[in-house]
Every structure is written in structure tokens, then in C-alpha cells.
Symmetry: C2
Subunit: 312 residues, 2 copies
Amino acid sequence: MTARPEPIRGVLAPILTPFADDLSVAHDLFIAHARHLLSTGCAGLAPFGTTGEALSVGIHERIAALDRLIDAGVDPQRLIPGTGLTNLPDTITLTRHAVERGCAGALVLPPFYFKNVPDDGLFAYFARLIEGIPSANLRIYLYHIPPVSQVGFPIDLVRRLRAAFPAQVVGIKDSSGDWSNTRRLLTEVPGLVVYPGSELPLLDALSLGAAGCITATANINATALAEVVSLYQQGREAEAKQRHEAVKAVRLLVQEHGPIPAQKHVLAAWSGDERWRHVRPPLLPLADAAGRQLVRALEREHGLAPSQRTAV
Amino acid sequence: MTARPEPIRGVLAPILTPFADDLSVAHDLFIAHARHLLSTGCAGLAPFGTTGEALSVGIHERIAALDRLIDAGVDPQRLIPGTGLTNLPDTITLTRHAVERGCAGALVLPPFYFKNVPDDGLFAYFARLIEGIPSANLRIYLYHIPPVSQVGFPIDLVRRLRAAFPAQVVGIKDSSGDWSNTRRLLTEVPGLVVYPGSELPLLDALSLGAAGCITATANINATALAEVVSLYQQGREAEAKQRHEAVKAVRLLVQEHGPIPAQKHVLAAWSGDERWRHVRPPLLPLADAAGRQLVRALEREHGLAPSQRTAV
């Protein structure tokens, strides 16, 4: 009997997906970045989230990239890949693949094409998804990101799904940016593993039992983020708070520039590999001047560069 | 040398996708419904539009369903299938398949996951799509449906795409529901084939040179819709107007109930095949009582049933 998947506790990076000059997935950079993140503070990775430009990557590309990552030795029990599309058959294909490869879970968007759909319809969608993957190792993390997907998971629906499928619907990533929603998920849905989709409410969330957070900036700031969690766990609250303020400042700076192109620009600068600058349309790379300014600010004002420069 | 694809003129149905009891695509019903529509007034079909629950159907299912339709003898030159997803590789796969099967065109959504993306990013997306399908028979119809996809095609972007790719970007389906936008497309973008995504502005649009319309209600009201176009073309304006008022009333009635489940309910009633009632989650079937009321209203107040009942 294989061990059952367990929730990952700590900071998870929704790892950026690097592209080659022809915009195919750059597997070598992807693997190197994954290893770097896992060895510098990340407890886990959530490949193919919004930050990973998941919805800009084809279904077979996503399967191949996850295979390459795991085949290269990345522990699947530290991975919660995004698998949610707008349709059930392809979402089942991606989710089943993640389960078969031994991943800790799958981060599943609601079907996000039709808007204002009834909760009963979303419930039926997840019921069929679960029915389609009859594995004892299926662990679904609901991906709540209404600012992008427009369709989200109202609390009542989360509660219903959790009650109906306690073994499968184990957690949620809350990227609503709405602390009152995160707080309710943490306090009103028993047993739910909650990851805020940002470090901004990290300490408040940890104090209410959050498992950690899944945050875009872990791609460039994993070590400092992990320290916030670690200091908190050691009861060193004042230091945790101070460190938290510092990582929040980095986030706000990155957010100003559009976090995906901005962080890819930073990784290109730090790694010396220009491929990192590629994004897939409809996104556009960050302009040179803005990128240089961002890198300079991160290095001089936030002291971020040196450890990253050599390690990436 | 094969004949080049030509624009379809008249009424096109965004054909509903029927599902079997296990929610797989019911190919027999799909083929029968396509034949029925094409023989009772539709100049063409747009399979896998929003009304066809396209984004609820998997990529391989879509390819198979289009194959089955064409293999059953449906003329591909009367088909403009939807092929737009959120990512380029899979969108290229679907679009290339439509071209290879000899379709009149492909109806392509903008990548709709990321919101508020720059026009340059959408332009780059379509440039790469076109580059990825080096066929002289590629004909792209832009699918503008911001009420659902949230991401749309601003007029300036349409103009740029048309100017850069005059052989490939030939038309647009405008489902904005905004007549001023449709009017501008008809008058300000030279050579663009424009299909309003509804019959509501049909006569005004025809008077400005629209090729016809692509409207959901063609699934249950094709003959009357075709008559509006035909009367207009014969210069019988008063009769066209009268007929137009009648089809608009049908549309408004259907819209009240959610057009997809409502029309599937109607087709189930008229064909006697209960499979027609199935929708895929996140949509839900229409409740029995509402469905019965709708069918009764269509039959008694709008005189719609008899010709359909035997033919479907």
C-alpha cells in the first residue's frame, strides 16, 4: 500500500512556466527553477496556476511538462499542479494524470467560461470530476480566483463539496484577495486546508490554522517567505512580523508591473538566461526600462539578488 | 486546385450539442439536427459556439464530432466551427482540423482566461495562430462575445488584424448585443464579413451589408428566420419587418429561460427524444414546469411546433 497524499505545509510557489525562443516549454529551465525553489524555502510547488500561465499552455504540453519534472526527480508529493479547464473530459485527463504520477493534489478551477452559473451546476461538475477519477489518492484543492476566472466558489458551495466528498475535496487556494472570505474558509469549514493566494494575510491566516500560502512572489522571494512561516512557528512573533512587512513590500512592488512578466524579467536578469523573459500571448514581456528599474529596486532596496543570482 | 472557402450568406445556427445519457456527445442526434437545420432554412452552421456548449466539450470530442458530421455528408462549406480556447497549441489543433476538413471558416474566441490584456497581446496571439496554420484555406471569423468571454475585440484591434491578415481574418460574429458596435464593424472595417450574434438587429444589419446572422434561436426557428432574410432580399420590406417582429418575440421568450437548456427542452418535446434535455455541468437542465410552459407558449402563441415536430 502506497502512502496517501498529505497536505503540504508552508510556502508553495505557483511556479512560472519558462518558454524557449519558439515559445515551447523550456523543460530545462522549468526543472532547474523547481529544484531551486524547493531547495531555497518552498515546501511545495503549484505548477500550472495562473502565474504559470497554465491556461496559455496546451493540455498535452502540460502533461509532458509535469512528466519531465517528476522524471527529473522532483518529488510529486511536493506538487499540487493546476488541472482545471472549462470542460470535464480534459479536466479529468489532467487531474487523473496528476493522481497517477503521485502528486499531493490537484488545484482545480471551476469551469470558467459560462458566467453566473448556479451553484448546483458547479457542484454537479465537481461530482462528475470525482466520479471520473476513482482513485483513493485523489485530493482536490479548489482554486478560487474570481478576479481572473470570474467564476468562483461561494462559501456555501465549498461547504457542500467538502461535506459530500470529504476524502477528495480537501482544500482551497483562496486568491480572492478578500480576507473576510479567507477568514470564513479558515473558521467555518471544518478540516479544510486553506492556502491564501498571497502572502499579504499570511500571519493572520497562520494564526487561524492556514497550511501556508501559495504566492506568485515565491518565484523570486522563497527564502524570505519561508522565514516568515518559520519564525511564526517558533513563536518569534515580532521577528515574523518584521520579515512579513519586508516580503509584503516586495509583493506590492512586483504587482505594480504585472507579476508574470515582471518576475520573468527578474529571473532572466538573475539567471543570465534571456529565455526567462518570454511570455505567451496574450501576455507581453515587460519593457526593458521598467524591468531594469524593478531589478534595481529589488536588489538595492530589498536586498534580494545575491543568493538568487548564483542559484537559479 | 480546390475552391477557396467563401463566406456563408444567410442565417447560421450555432447548433446545440446533444448529449447521451452518460453525457457523451450524441452523434446521431447531432447529425440529424444539422441536416434538419440545413434543410429548413439555415444557410450554414456554427458548431461549437457558446450555444453549442463548446467550452464544456473536450478537444478530442470536438474533433470527433466535426468528423462525424462531415463524414455523414454535411457539406463542410456550410460549417464555421468554433475553435477558440485559451491557449495557442490547442486552438491551432482545432483550427487546423477545421481547415483540413474543408470548412468555410473557423470561429475563434480571443484567449479569455486573462482579463484586461493589451490589444498588442491579442494581436500577437492571432498572428501566431495564423502563422501556425500555413494554409491558403484558413478563414478566421473573430468571435466577439464579451458578455460571456469578458475578453473581446475592440474595433481598433479588428481593424489591425484585418489589415495585417486580409486573406485570413475575414469576418466577425458580434455577440456584444451592442448595436453601435455592430454598426461600426459594418461601416468602418472594409471588406469585413459581419454576422450579428442575434436576430434582434437583423434588418438594420442587412441594410448595412451584413452577411446574415448567427443566432441561437435558429435551432428552433430556422425557417422563420430565413424568411426574414429572404423577404428583405426580395425588397418586400413590410413583410420582412412583420416577420422580424415575430422572430424577435420568440427570441425574447427563449432568452427568459436561459437559451441553451430552454431550447434543448423544446427539441426534446418536439423530437420525442429525451436525450435532448441533457446539458453538461455547470449548466443545468430546464425545470419541467418551465419547459412545458415554454413549449406551450411557442406552439400556441408563436405557431412554431408542427413543422419541427416531424422533421427533427
